[in-house]
């Protein structure tokens, strides 16, 4: 990225750090230092006593325990990621569709906007847990008509489980769309309307201008949404993996737990998430210049084909102009 280059770099840099300082202090104290400490704890056997923590060195023992002896963690971890990929796709697509609809000139837009953002304030906090335990997030129709039964009969169990989980929690997944819709809409409003006009004059229809204009312009928004949604899914209190980590933290040594093991689990979880986020970033990264060039030439070909079609159409109608 090009930065404005202004005068005395070093003095300016000092001023820049001044802006950063308050955040940096809070961040280092309450996030960075505890993170490092938890690495240290994850390699120890930690006992919480009245006189503070008692540590004894355990090396990689905690990690070995997670992968070899813990009964549920790894299973839950892989289950979470299978669920998350599916839910992420549903949330990203669904919120894009909603955002594009809300960007249209329709009546009562304000009311719809408010309603679609409302879930933002519901999905975090104790209210959601209450709702889930009351069963308000399941769709009764899906259960009664046996959609899940069909899915499980048709697909292999590895694919069927996340899919049926998605259907039974469909409302919950839709509620997660609040912030993504908001972010998409900001992106959509930034697209210049004249670009669409120009592309339509060149013969593109709504479908083509969606793929060639809207999606590329929204690329950074898709990345933000993807990261936000994945992190949100991973750290929400309803998550099984979180519950397990929390549970292990307050167990003592004999039952298979303790703070050391919980720390190690948290790190395994964070690293897996990091890999997933990295994959997401690679997927939505701007393409390299050469690929863009190829893309351009393809667009050229497409446009030429469209022009040719239009010309043919005009000829057939005896030269009557039908375009704008």
């Amino acid at each position: 990225m090009k930065k404005p280059r202004i005068g005395l770099v070093n003095r300016r840099e000092m001023k820049g750090y001044l802006f950063l300082l308050p955040w940096l202090v809070g961040f280092v104290c309450f996030f960075a230092v505890p993170l490092v400490q938890s690495v240290w704890y994850s390699m120890h056997d930690v006992k919480v006593t009245a006189n503070g923590l008692k540590l004894s060195w355990a090396g990689w023992e905690n990690y070995r325990y997670i992968f070899q002896s813990d009964t549920v963690f790894i299973e839950q971890l892989s289950g979470f990621f299978a669920d998350a990929i599916l839910r992420l796709a549903v949330i990203l697509v669904f919120s894009l569709v909603i955002a594009m609809m809300l960007n249209q000139p329709i009546r009562g837009k304000g009311v719809f906007r408010t309603l679609f953002f409302l879930p933002i304030i519901v999905v975090s906090g104790p209210v959601l847990e209450r709702l889930v335990s009351e069963g308000a997030t399941t769709v009764p129709l899906i259960e009664t008509y046996g959609v899940n039964g069909i899915i499980e009969a048709v697909l292999p169990p590895m694919m069927a489980r996340p899919l049926s989980g998605l259907f039974s929690q469909l409302i919950l997944v839709l509620w997660y769309c609040g912030v993504p819709i908001l972010i998409y809409m900001t992106g959509l409003q930034k697209i210049d309307g004249t670009i669409y006009e120009a592309s339509m004059i060149d013969g593109a229809n709504g479908w083509i201008s969606f793929w060639k204009i809207t999606l590329p312009a929204l690329r950074p928004m898709i990345l933000i949404n993807g990261v936000y949604t994945l992190v949100f899914l991973a750290t929400t209190g309803l998550n099984e993996v979180m519950a397990t980590i929390n549970d292990r933290m307050f167990r003592t040594g004999e039952q298979g737990g303790g703070y050391g093991i919980a720390s190690a689990m948290a790190w395994v979880y964070a690293i897996c998430l990091g890999i997933a986020l990295l994959a997401l970033m690679l997927l939505t990264k701007e393409r390299k210049a050469r690929q863009v060039a190829i893309q351009k030439s393809r667009e050229q070909v497409e446009l030429e084909r469209l022009h040719a079609q239009r010309a043919r159409g005009m000829k057939r109608r005896g030269g009557k102009r039908h375009g704008r």
């Binding site: 802006f19 308050p22 955040w23 104290c29 679609f116 304030i121 709702l131 900001t186 703070y259 720390s263």
Partner: protein, 287 residues
């Protein structure tokens, strides 16, 4: 869909299918709020009805009166808890908005050597399960002597990695040329921040405000971990204990009432904020 803009004559026809999609979805989205409100007014026998009913049939105020009686029976008046919650909430929301926007400005638009690394660490912190750092954080709060102070409620929540990430991504999209122009005209960094960055990232800031509000308003962790005096605990913590310590049948009703009470500030702030978000999004000069 895009044709609407240029084709006003087909505009009305196109609206109908959109309504067909939007209206049912909007109903889905509104379901939780209707549920919370209805639940709070249910009499005991409806709370435990099987199959559970969604809407209340005979609304009563029993749950609220029982909650009030229980609250006045306690040693510390409820206004103390409300005061604590207000102080913590207002300071966290304001501080986190200011701090994360300033840091985002520095990390996104200024020349700093370490900014790549800092952003990576922020992203890592964002991914990390917050609950796993409880013990190190407790030791830190204890070591700084902040147990039983308002700082213990405020400081751990102020540097919000997710908020920082959102604001930074928005700041990235403010065009550099605008800043350059301001600097050429003699603006200092602070002027650039206040006059250019802040107005342009308002939608992101409003989002951060909503997120920060929820993280602190719904937070019971700071009350359980960093305080041991009743008089320093927050309203959320109090409401939670009220509902869970009393006997289960009456407790259910009180829990429903208290969750409505806890939910209303969320709703009010949200309605205030969201119109702000919408307006700035429509008029912001970011193109």
């Amino acid at each position: 869909m895009r044709k609407n803009r240029f084709n006003p004559s087909r505009f009305h026809m196109n609206q109908i299918p959109m309504y067909l999609v939007l209206v049912p979805l909007a109903v889905f989205m509104a379901v939780p709020i209707v549920f919370i409100i209805n639940h709070a007014f249910k009499p005991i026998e409806e709370l435990f009805a099987f199959p559970p009913r969604f809407l209340v049939e005979h609304p009563v105020l029993d749950n609220f009166t029982r909650l009030a009686r229980q609250a006045s029976a306690g040693g510390i008046s409820i206004s103390r808890y409300i005061f604590n919650s207000l102080i913590a909430t207002v300071s966290v929301v304001l501080l986190s908005m200011v701090i994360s926007s300033m840091a985002a400005f520095a990390l996104s638009k200024l020349r700093l050597r370490a900014k790549g690394v800092l952003m990576e660490i922020n992203n890592l912190a964002m991914m990390f399960v917050p609950i796993a750092v409880i013990i190190p954080r407790y030791l830190l709060v204890d070591g700084l002597g902040m147990i039983n102070t308002y700082f213990a409620h405020i400081l751990p929540l102020v540097a919000m990695p997710v908020g920082m990430f959102l604001v930074k991504q928005f700041t990235d999209q403010v065009p550099d040329s605008l800043i350059e122009a301001a600097v050429v005209d003699g603006a200092s960094y602070f002027t650039v921040y206040r006059r250019i960055i802040l107005p342009m990232i308002k939608p992101a800031l409003a989002t951060v405000a909503i997120l920060a509000f929820q993280s602190v308003w719904n937070n019971t962790e700071t009350s359980t971990m960093y305080t041991n005096k009743e008089s320093m605990r927050t309203l959320t913590f109090y409401m939670n204990t009220l509902a869970s310590t009393t006997n289960t049948v009456a407790g259910q009703g009180m829990a429903a009432a208290s969750s409505l009470i806890m939910f209303l500030p969320n709703l009010i702030l949200f309605i205030l904020c969201q119109s702000r978000v919408m307006n700035t999004m429509a008029h912001s000069g970011i193109k």
